[in-house]
Symmetry: C2
Subunit: 223 residues, 2 copies
DNA sequence: CGTGATCTTGAGGGAATTCAATGTCGGTGG
DNA sequence: CCACCGACATTGAATTCCCTCAAGATCACG
């Protein structure tokens, strides 16, 4: 539950270019839906641990998942959040390099990883699915990387935009995760995230409907 | 040439676990070496620009390449450095999401990307090569991400270790890139990198042979 | 309706940035 | 061969901004 980081960034106007949408991974959705096994989990449950053998690849049906790791300095970096439709557990090696936990109650679809990777060696469809999924993951991490380099206010704002993009709700954004998780994802502290939100509020770039629900305003809100 | 960032981090002891070696991409090395076209470039030359159509995939034969992008706040994040043996230009879409430049005079091997990706749709060997290469890239970025969350001194030290690991020189490390580039890679400023090096020097964790050549000392130096 | 978890706000301190100046290195030309 | 020059690197002083510690406010849930 550690959430410690420090950061300092330049405070400047930021205008980021659009980032391409994630590539769809349609082709194998079928295979997943056919041979995948569903699983339901409550909040804050561990799906797999760091170092554990990578047995499955997961598809999020509902809820929200976070992956995180431990680095020695008492911080708990959150690597990614996965929303419905996303795949995770795509490990490069035989064991998971991160830990995966449910943020909210979540429904998952599991597919045997060994089954998949051995198939990939001989099955073109599977190989291409893995390539696309990995490519998506790559894109995701690149985006995350850029977030880490921005100044705090923009970093938080970008995060909100990303959540809006992925959430596909009405015109409001729902945050499934606590400030804590956002902070660890952005390399900040809870307090700093909170202050950033306050700043965005005062600048009329967002409006809070509740602590976990808000609306993006002004330029850059809808793209 | 902007190099501005700010950062503040917790100052604590750090002990990171070992990270797995990059997976070899042997199988297609052949294809590369056969149909690739060699190209020689001087320092600080642009190989491809951000947004440009992704025509080739590149293999570094000699020298050093950096990929970077522009975010609106006047910073120039460096995404990665590529050393001899590394592949780059593996784009997720049809156009490059980053800019690639030579750090030092470099020799490259080019392979038509369209040729490769269309082959990937039907050729299993190619599809698997792309998967492995992408997986490597993923691993690389994950490592980079963790670097960004560490405290400055450890971040710089880890960077040096990584360069040693990849450089495969004698017992010293040669840095092909200026402080400037290191700073932008780590999300810091030139001055902060310089101060971190001074700190490492005083702590006897490194020894400078020249400004661009040094030796790692003490525990954690050789792994 | 209370209780704990989550979130916000405030004050103080520390670390990195910024701005500015000095040092060092490599290469070029006299 | 040596001196100069420009690019790169280091160091210093002042400032900024985030973190830390602490208290208060809001929300969710029993």
């Amino acid at each position: 539950v550690a959430s410690k980081t420090s950061r300092k960034r330049a405070t400047r106007a930021v205008s980021r270019r659009r980032r391409p949408r994630r590539i769809s991974v349609a082709p194998l959705g079928d295979l997943f839906d056919r041979s995948g096994k569903a699983k339901l989990l409550a909040s804050n449950n561990t799906i797999f641990k760091q170092g554990q053998a990578a047995e499955f690849i997961y598809k999020v049906l509902s809820g929200c998942i976070r992956t995180c790791s431990n680095i020695g300095n008492g911080r708990r970096p959150v690597h990614a959040f996965y929303c419905p439709g996303d795949y995770f557990g795509l490990e490069t090696g035989e064991s998971h390099g991160v830990r995966a936990e449910t943020v909210t109650p979540s429904e998952l679809l599991l597919l045997g990883r060994r089954e998949l990777t051995t198939q990939a060696a001989g099955n073109l469809e599977v190989a291409n699915f893995l390539l696309r999924a990995t490519t998506n993951e790559l894109q995701r991490i690149r985006t995350h990387n850029l977030l880490l380099l921005k100044d705090v206010t923009e970093s938080v704002f970008e995060f909100l935009r990303d959540m809006q993009r992925r959430g596909a709700n009405g015109n409001h954004v729902d945050l499934p995760m606590p400030r804590n998780d956002i902070a660890d994802y952005l390399g900040l502290t809870t307090e700093t995230v909170s202050r950033a939100l306050t700043r965005l509020k005062k600048a009329s770039r967002i409006a809070m409907l509740s602590q976990r629900r808000l609306i993006l305003l002004g330029p850059g809100a809808n793209n």
